[in-house]
C-alpha cells in the first residue's frame, strides 16, 4: 500500500514551489488532466462538479434578476467579427479559425467564438423594437477559445475555457449602469459567499478596458503567492456597441433612441482561484457551499464492532441527507481509516465525521474540520445542528484567512523605488496616487511586471480623493488612487 499512498499524496510544497504544487493538486484531487494538445485540459468529474456548483449559484441569481439563458452559434463569420473593429483588433491574434467543412474549403472562414458580442448584438438589434422590449437580458453558458501561446495552467491559462457571458440592453445609462453593478455584486457574492474568497472591486484604467467599453469593472482576488486574479468582469458598454450594430428602440413618443448595453462574464478561472486560495500540502480544501460532498463519514471498526459502527454511520448519513446535505459514507472494506482520511483530505471534503465504537457507546460524533484539523465532539442528538455549525465555521475560517490576506496585502507606497520595492518584497497590491497616464503604468510593468489592476469606482466615496496628491510614479498631480499588482 505504500506505493499507492505515495502516489495519492501531494509531494510538492505550496510555499516553495507553488506552480508545481498547484498542478499536482489539480491532478491528484481528480479535477483535471492535460489534453494532448497544448493549452487544453480535460475536466474530470470532481472538477466539473465544482463548475456545476458555481453555475447553480450564479444561474439562480441571474434568473432571479431577470436574465434569460440563450444559445448562439459557436462559429462566427469573419465579417461579423470585423463589423466591430474595436473588437477584432482586440481578439484577431487569438482567434481559432475554421477554414474547411468536410472536404470543402469554406468561402468565408469562421471564428470559434472568443466572445459573442459580434453575433449576439446584431440579433438583439432585430429583437428590440420598442421600449417595452427593454431591458433585454441574455446570458449563455458556453466554451470559448482564445489562442494564446502560453504555458497551460488548468483553469487559469487554457486556450479553451468554460464561462458565461451576459449581454443586456437598456433604455438609458442609468439602467445599464445598474445592470453593470448588479452583475459585479453577484460576482462579489459568488467569491465571498460561495468560494469564501474576499475580493477587491474596482474599475480598470481606460487603456485596459474591454475594447469598445465605456467602463470595465472587475472583482480581483489576492492569491497566497501575492498575485491578483481578475475574477469576473462587468462592462458598461455605453452606446458604442448599440451604434455599431444598430440597437435602437422606439420610446414612449415613438422616437428612435439608441440603447445602452452591458456585457459581463466569469469563467472557470474562478475555480483556479478557489483551488489556489484555500488548498494546502495535504491537497484540496473546499468551502461547503461548493463542495460536491460536504461531509464524509469514516467508520473505524474491528471485526466485532463492524456491524454496530456501520449501522450508526448509516443513521448519521440518512439524518444529514434528509436536510439536503451531500454525505459520503466511506464503508470500503479494503481501505483502512488512515488511508481514507488522507484520500478525503486530498479531495477537499470540508468536514469529516469519525465514528468508532466509543462514539457509538457514548452517542457522540467526532467532527474534524478540513482546513485546520480541529476536532469537535458533539452529541448524536444534536447531529444536524452541530454539522451545520461546523460547516459554517469551516466557511468562516476560510473566508477569515482570505480576508486577512487581502487586508494585509494592500500597502501604500509612493515613488518608483517604494512601489517596486514593496511589490518585490511583499507582492499584493500597492496603492498609490496616479496621474492617469498609461506611461506611468508601463514604467512599473517593464521593471517588475506589475500593472494597475484596479482604480476606485467613480462613485466610491471612500476614495473620493486620491490616496496621494501626486502620482506615485511621475510626481505629477494625481487624479485617482491606483492599485498595482502582479496578476495571473
Amino acid at each position: 500500500m505504500s506505493d499507492e499512498t505515495q502516489e495519492l499524496g501531494i509531494t510538492e510544497s505550496k510555499e516553495h514551489s507553488p506552480g508545481e504544487w498547484y498542478a499536482e493538486v489539480v491532478q491528484k484531487a481528480g479535477l483535471a488532466d492535460y489534453a494532448p494538445m497544448g493549452g487544453f485540459i480535460v475536466t474530470r468529474p470532481r472538477g466539473y462538479a465544482l463548475w456545476e456548483g458555481l453555475q447553480n449559484h450564479l444561474d439562480g441569481w441571474f434568473k432571479q434578476t431577470g436574465v434569460q439563458n440563450a444559445y448562439f452559434p459557436m462559429l462566427i463569420p469573419e465579417s461579423y467579427l470585423e463589423a466591430e473593429k474595436d473588437i477584432v483588433e482586440g481578439f484577431d491574434p487569438e482567434v481559432a479559425w475554421v477554414t474547411h467543412g468536410g472536404h470543402e474549403e469554406l468561402e468565408e472562414r469562421l471564428a470559434v467564438r472568443p466572445t459573442s458580442e459580434s453575433i449576439i448584438t446584431p440579433f438583439m438589434s432585430q429583437w428590440i423594437r420598442s421600449h417595452r422590449d427593454l431591458p433585454m437580458r441574455l446570458n449563455q453558458w458556453c466554451s470559448v477559445i482564445r489562442w494564446e501561446a502560453t504555458d497551460t495552467k488548468p483553469f487559469f491559462r487554457t486556450k479553451e475555457f468554460l464561462w458565461q457571458e451576459g449581454h443586456t440592453a437598456h433604455r438609458d445609462r442609468e439602467g445599464a449602469w445598474d445592470e453593470t453593478m448588479t452583475r459585479l455584486d453577484q460576482y462579489e457574492r459568488l467569491y465571498e459567499d460561495v468560494l469564501a474568497i474576499d475580493v477587491l472591486t474596482g474599475r480598470k484604467p481606460d487603456h485596459d478596458k474591454f475594447p469598445g467599453a465605456d467602463t470595465t469593472t472587475s472583482v480581483e482576488a489576492l492569491m497566497p503567492d501575492g498575485k491578483s486574479v481578475q475574477g469576473g468582469t462587468s462592462h458598461y458598454l455605453g452606446t458604442g456597441f448599440a451604434e455599431a450594430y444598430d440597437v435602437t428602440y422606439a420610446d414612449e413618443d415613438e422616437e428612435e433612441q439608441l440603447a445602452h448595453t452591458t456585457s459581463w462574464g466569469t469563467s472557470w478561472r474562478a475555480l483556479g482561484a478557489l483551488i489556489m486560495s484555500h488548498s494546502d500540502d495535504q491537497g484540496l480544501v473546499l468551502p461547503p457551499a461548493i463542495a460536491p460532498e460536504q461531509v464524509v463519514i469514516v467508520p473505524i471498526w474491528q471485526e466485532d464492532t463492524r456491524e454496530e459502527v456501520l449501522e450508526y454511520c448509516e443513521g448519521l448519513q440518512s439524518d444529514l441527507e434528509a436536510t439536503g446535505l451531500s454525505v459520503n459514507l466511506d464503508d470500503r472494506d479494503e481501505r483502512n481509516p488512515g488511508f481514507k482520511f488522507n484520500e478525503w483530505e486530498l479531495k477537499g471534503i470540508p468536514l469529516r465525521i469519525e465514528v468508532g465504537p466509543n462514539e457509538v457507546d457514548d452517542e457522540e460524533v467526532t467532527m474534524v474540520h478540513r482546513p485546520d484539523g480541529e476536532n469537535v465532539v458533539a452529541d448524536r442528538a444534536d447531529l444536524v445542528s452541530a454539522v451545520e455549525d461546523a460547516l459554517d465555521t469551516v466557511h468562516a475560517k476560510l473566508f477569515a484567512a482570505s480576508e486577512e490576506r487581502l487586508e494585509e496585502g494592500v500597502r501604500e507606497a509612493h515613488g518608483r523605488a517604494d512601489i517596486l520595492g514593496t511589490i518585490g518584497q511583499h507582492g499584493g497590491y500597492v496603492k498609490t496616487g496616479w496621474c492617469g497616464e498609461e506611461s506611468c503604468e508601463t514604467e512599473i510593468k517593464d521593471q517588475i511586471a506589475a500593472e494597475i489592476v484596479a482604480v476606485p469606482m467613480e462613485d466610491d466615496e471612500e476614495h473620493e480623493t486620491p490616496v496621494h496628491d501626486t502620482c506615485g510614479v511621475c510626481g505629477e498631480e494625481s487624479v485617482t488612487t491606483a492599485y498595482f499588482a502582479k496578476s495571473y
Copy 2:
C-alpha cells in the same frame, strides 16, 4: 393592432404545408432564429428554456444512476480521430476543421468534435486500472458540429447542435448491456413522461449501426406527417473501442481484461419532435413537464373591477407558485384579453386561467386546456388540486393522441408493391419480414426513401418469430421483423 395580430399569428397550415408551418411556429413562438451562416440557428430564451427543462430531467436521472458529468476539449487532433478508423470513416466528410490559431497555421489540424469517443476513450484508458474503477460512467453536455450540406430545419437539421454524450466502461458484456438498456429506458421515459410522445424502441440493422458498435438501439417517434424521428440512441460497443484505445483493467486475480464500453446520446432534435408532435395552427403546444411556464393567468377587467380582479389573480398566482408551479400573471394594461389569449396559445402555455368579476364574485376559476380549448370551472378553494389535475389531463391528452398515432401508424405489409403502397399512402411504419440483407432495404429506399428504422431487440419475446416467414422484399427466408419508415 391588426398588423401586430397578423404578425403574431401562425399563417401556415400544419396539415397542408407542414414544413413552412414548422418554421413559422419555431420563429413566432420565439424558440429560434436562423443564424447568418447556413445550417446554424440562434436558440432564443423560450427555446433554450425547453433545452434546460430536458436537461434537468435527464441529468437528474443520469446522476441517480451513477453517471458523472465531465468536460472534454471541443477540438480533437486529426490523429486522434484517425486512431479509430471506423469512426473517421463515419465522420470524416462531416468534420469542421480548425487550421489556424491567430495568424499561425497549425501543425496538425483540429476537428471540432463531431462526437467525442476518440478523445474520451483514451482518457478512460488512463483512468481505469482495476476492476474497482468500474463501472466508469461519464457524460458531457456540449455542442457538436457535423458539416452536412442540407437545408436547415431548426432542431432537426443544423450543422451545430446541442446534445449529451455518455461514455461508459464495464467489466463484462452484461454490465455494458444493462447500461445500454438503462439509458434507452431513460430516453423512452423522457419522451413519454416529459415530452408526452409515445415511442417505438428497437435496434438498428447491422449495416446502420454506429461505426464500431456491436449493437445500436434507439427510440423512434412518429411525427404527424408520417415520418419517424430517431429520438435518442444507445450503443453497446462491445470490446472494439476498448481494444482500439486499450481500455483494460486488472480483475480480482490481477489478470488484465478488456473492458466493454457503451455510448449514448440525445440531442435537441428531441425539441424538434416535441414541437412537431403537439403543436397546431394556433402555435406551440407544450406538455406541462417541460413548459417553462405551466400556467398563465389572464385577468379580464373593466376600469371599476380592475383592482379586485387583479388582487384575486395575485392570490391565485401565489398559491400556485407555493406548490412549485411556474405561473405567469399577464397584467399588462396595454393588451386586451383576446390578444393575450392568442399570444399565450402561440407560445404554448399548457393551461390558461381566466379571471373576470364573475369568477371573483363566485369564488371560482375558469381553466382552459391549451391542446383542445376545453373549459373547466373549479372552486377557488380547490385551486391547487384542480390545477394539478388539469395539468395531468393536458399531459394525458397529448400522450393519448401520440399513442393513438403510433398505434395506427404501424401497418403490416408484404411484397414490394404492398410495402411501397402502404408507406406511400399512409406514411408511418411498415412492419414486414426481412431476410437481413441490406440490398432489400436499398430497393425500398431507392424507390420511396424509406429505410429500416428499427428491428426488434434480440431478447424481445413478443417479436421472437418474424411477422412473416419470408422477406417482404425478396421473398427469401426472413430472420427478423423490420420496421420501414421515412425518417428525419
